[in-house]
Amino acid sequence: MVENDRLGAWIAHVVLIIGIVILAFPVYLAFVGSTHDAATISNGQMPLTPGPNLVAAYEKALFTGTSGTTREPVWTMMRNSLIMALAIAVGKIAISLLSAFAVVYFRFPFRQTAFWIIFVTLMLPVEVRIYPTYKIVSDLGMLNTYAGLTIPLIASATATLLFRQFFMTVPDELVEASKIDGAGPMRFFVDTLLPLSVTSIAAMFVIQFIYGWNQYLWPLLITTSDNMQTIVIGLRKMIVTQDALTEWDVAMATAILAMLPPVAIVLLMQRFFVKGLVETEK
């Protein structure tokens, strides 16, 4: 259109660049923090440009941990976070594919009931039922285990709904052709439905990986031993709000490390992620 002239485009560029700078600034500052030594930061003398302490801070974070609060090295925490994120993503995708397949491709008594049982979970995040759930996990002896950390979070309707929605768009004729070609339900599921769902699965993987990696309240309660804690919890424990004991250089290095995997996945799989995110919710 005519008004889409140079001025309009300039305004758009300027607004977007300001937005990007505001979003990126905290992360830049964290990076700068991870390159100066703790004393410089604590004195409030940190400049706005990177310093010489980069290798030392990351080395200490990854392999030693902070001296005071949590003595676990960050790579253990990253391993825990990775296991948690992968287990949640893979677990959710697996059980959701199966249940969506059942709900879409079969007719059986209580089908609607089963769908509603799953659907209602959409409404109640783990935070609202946190203590009773904690009690059950504790009664089952699952505190401080990966199972306790992940299985209760696997039950959610998001992935089931997405896959259900996708399955509804698969042409009926493919099922019929498969039947005529002598394929039973599981063979159709493996040979045809799964290969067709690759994009949806990838989208769901990104979303659920991030969901798992970023969990906070649940691991805070379930993991009491230091060697089970996730990186987000570990980072939080490094920050001691009330006094200056925080080793900010190590903490900021940890923050950067904690951000890397999920941000990398979002950027690398942006196409799937955007599609998955926007489609799940519609």
């Binding site: 059980i95 059986f108 955007v274």
Partner: protein, 293 residues
């Protein structure tokens, strides 16, 4: 909508559903019903016996001023974060939806904060706003603001709002951008031919057509502030100073950590559940009516 082509099989569908239903029943329905049940009970000090007390726990809860204070904090916090995060995201999305060069690069550079954990967002902003060493604190002090979120509750709230908004902009941006891209160009061109200037086009054509997205995001953002900001609050203020940044969810956590009042804690959970169910129900009603379509 139903499939025409299905498989006949009596037992297989139940086997396929089993894992999800089992996990849902054990870790979802069982604890949720426990919470409801416990909210009607009072346990004695040793946890050996309990008594059914009807709504006493709720009456108790609602008679305490700090519960109202926490409700008020949550409401204020939700309103401000939702408004800011949505307004900024809409502005950015409208700009990114223009036919300008580098649109994809802009989108990439705006979406990544979605992947940052809320608690991590809290730590990042704390690093900037920490009174003694934060870069922004120094700036504020230099300009005569006595910035101290550790003692000043308004400062603490502002700090939490900033981090929570920062984290949520990307998510809203993505949805607004998708919503804008779904508006047919011809509609906007027709409005231009009808003589509507850009700003007028935005408010009379684009914004009304975006209303399903806006409404969806409204509910999602409120739910986000209710629950996911837990990590931000815990990392930045631990609910302080003087409990002024304690939201309803944070209060459930804190009261539970102290132990003791199981019934009261359960009652808090039940009220939270009711709020979320209410919000979701409203959302479905409106989505069904397809706001404006």
């Amino acid at each position: 909508m139903e499939k025409r082509a299905i498989f006949d099989n009596k037992l297989l569908p139940y086997a396929l559903l089993l894992p999800q239903i089992l996990i849902t029943l054990v870790f979802f329905y069982w604890p949720a019903s426990q919470a409801v049940w416990q909210s009607f009970l009072i346990e004695d000090a040793f946890g050996t016996s309990s008594e059914f007390v009807w709504l006493d726990n709720y009456r108790d809860l609602l008679s305490k001023p700090d519960y109202y204070a926490s409700m008020l904090t949550t409401a204020w916090f939700s309103a401000v974060v939702t408004f800011l995060a949505m307004a900024i995201a809409l502005l950015l999305a409208s700009m990114a939806n223009k036919q300008i060069s580098g649109r994809n690069a802009y989108r990439t550079l705006l979406v990544w904060p979605y992947a940052v954990a809320p608690a991590l967002a809290g730590v990042l902003w704390l690093f900037m706003l920490q009174p003694s060493l934060g870069v922004l604190s120094k700036l504020l002090r230099a300009n005569g603001v006595d910035w101290n979120p550790l003692l000043n509750s308004n400062h603490a709230l502002i700090m939490v709002v900033l981090a929570a908004t920062w984290k949520q902009i990307s998510y809203n941006f993505l949805f607004f951008l998708a919503g804008l891209q779904a508006i047919p160009r011809s509609v906007i061109e027709a409005a231009a031919i009808d003589g509507a200037r850009p700003m007028r086009r935005f408010w009379t054509i684009i914004f009304p057509l975006l209303s399903p997205t806006t409404f969806y995001l409204l509910v999602v953002n409120i739910v986000y502030v209710f629950f996911e900001t837990f990590g931000i609050i815990d990392a930045m203020t631990s609910g302080g100073p003087a409990r002024t940044t304690t939201t309803l969810v944070y209060k459930v956590y804190q009261d539970g950590k102290l132990g003791g009042d199981l019934g009261g804690s359960a009652a808090q959970s039940v009220i939270l559940m009711a709020i979320v169910i209410g919000l979701t129900a409203i959302q479905f009603r409106f989505v069904e009516r397809r706001v404006n379509y």
